[in-house]
Symmetry: C2
Subunit: 312 residues, 2 copies
């Protein structure tokens, strides 16, 4: 059986995922929890981490590498942003060692685009990017959908530029707090990529991204005038927002000749794959969770003396 070489943690705003990984990245143990940044009181981060490590049977000397919001100002220890253009190797080299812990715990920094006209930030996605292309990876456009979707242009192993769309959060706040809650219902339905309503509104968003805030109200009007049902309204809202994002990203990144990689897990991956296909360029899909583990392996190799022969 593989011996763990280090622990890897993806510590986000609402969730924590932890693994014990072998020197080649094999998963030895795994934990998932809702103890994200918002749920952990200041001063309790070490305790929460040690609880998960103990549950996985990690040795006291096992080193830990962490990516995500745990490194934000509101997190455990701030790992200041690395500025674009940011080489993935330089990001990992800027990891912060958490002081006052008995084991070696490193928190990875996020990336900031300090361009006055297009300020932007990421935390966690930089690690996924390393999992997608490796530290010396070539050129690609990477689409990472989610609460705050990121699109990233990678050049020669560096994050050249990136942009964020609030697509997932817009869906959520509109479905819960706007007049569209009457259309979508209290528990928005699961949306399928082959749902023709999703497809029709996706095409609409792709063709008319500048009209998105107007087309939103048509979902409400269609429930009054055309008896649009809640499941269809959820599909319409999803299609419209994803279509608008992809059209806008296409205009910002001009992906015609680039290799495009879609990083997503679960149903959202299917929705974006459909959107990218309809937008006229095929993307290679990779699993987001596998990708973050691979990125954390790259980060561990950059920070600790880990190699295939290491059997701690």
């Amino acid at each position: 059986m593989t011996q763990p070489a280090f622990a890897a943690v993806d510590w986000g705003t609402t969730r924590l995922r932890a693994w014990l990984l072998g020197a080649e990245g094999a998963v030895v143990a795994e934990r998932r929890s809702d103890e994200g940044l918002l749920a952990v009181e200041r001063g309790r981060f070490a305790e929460v981490l040690e609880g998960h490590l103990a549950a996985m049977g990690a040795a006291p000397s096992l080193p830990v590498v962490i990516c995500g919001m745990a490194g934000s100002r509101q997190g455990w220890v701030e790992a200041p942003y690395v500025a674009t253009p940011a080489r993935l190797a330089d990001i990992f080299a800027a990891a912060i060692a958490v002081p006052g812990t008995s084991r070696d715990v490193r928190i990875l920094p996020g990336v900031a685009q300090k361009d006055h006209a297009r300020p932007d930030v990421m935390r966690g996605e930089e690690t996924q990017l390393a999992g997608v292309v490796g530290l010396r990876g070539g050129d690609a456009i990477v689409c990472m959908p989610g609460t705050h979707s990121k699109w990233v242009e990678l050049k020669d192993g560096a994050i050249a530029r990136f942009s964020t769309w609030m697509t997932g959060e817009l869906f959520s706040v509109l479905a819960q707090h706007s007049i569209l809650r009457h259309a979508v219902g209290a528990e928005p339905a699961h949306v399928a990529a082959d749902d023709p309503v999703f497809g029709a509104w996706l095409d609409d968003g792709l063709a008319n991204p500048g009209d998105a805030t107007s087309r939103l109200f048509r979902i409400r009007a269609a429930t009054l005038l055309a008896d649009l049902r809640p499941a269809a309204a959820a599909a319409a809202l999803s299609g419209l927002l994803i279509g608008s994002e992809v059209a806008s990203a296409k205009s910002q990144f001009g992906m015609a000749h680039a290799r495009t990689i879609l990083v997503a897990s679960g149903p959202i991956g299917g929705l974006y794959a459909e959107a990218l296909k309809r937008a006229g360029y095929p993307a290679t899909s990779v699993d987001a969770e596998t990708t973050v583990r691979r990125g954390l392996l790259e980060a561990a190799r950059s920070n600790f003396a880990i190699d295939a022969g290491d059997k701690r």
Copy 2:
């Protein structure tokens, strides 16, 4: 002193405004309340109305005309939508007489655009439109900003087509419920039309309406990277959303040669006047409250035997 010829009520989702008006529209008495649709239990509409009429000293025989959400399915008595193209005179002729009341109470219908590709609805704005151009008014594009901004193309006294932007509601739900609440703060600042931050983001929204859902996140990023303060963040959000609306409306309505009229009250009127000016066409501004009263006068004349000589 002018004698009241009828009572006029603008009964919306969150507010009620009532007036006693003379036969020529002079204001004899006035009431404002938060007893909008959402605050009035079913079965209590007559009681609430009579309370306000009594407080203004209205005679028991005085007729009442009502516009707004009181005529929706969730309201007092449903006044079914009139379909576009909708002549203003035909809308008023379709008023519903409330059954079981001792006085003559009429509720005005809303307007529906039953176009499969662009379904839309309005309730209340049709009455303001009559106040803007009269029942025989000519051609105009009318911009009516608010929670759900309406843009309307009027042709020969009829509503030819219209479209809705959720601008005001987007500002509100994003400022209260999204990650932008950290940027904007708990009590979003009043935004001034000559604020340079408002102007810069307005220009951005006008130039790039298709990127709106991406640019939203830049407001958050600018608070982290450029120390954007809450008042400036509110100005940025307002500018971005209004700019996106006006650019989108311009592409839908192509207003180059039309007479454009802006119907608004209070600070929002100044923000939209600035947006219309920067979008390249000047608009005549009229006060929204005066306009709804004028429209209700037109509606009363269509429904009751009211003329200048009537001194009931």
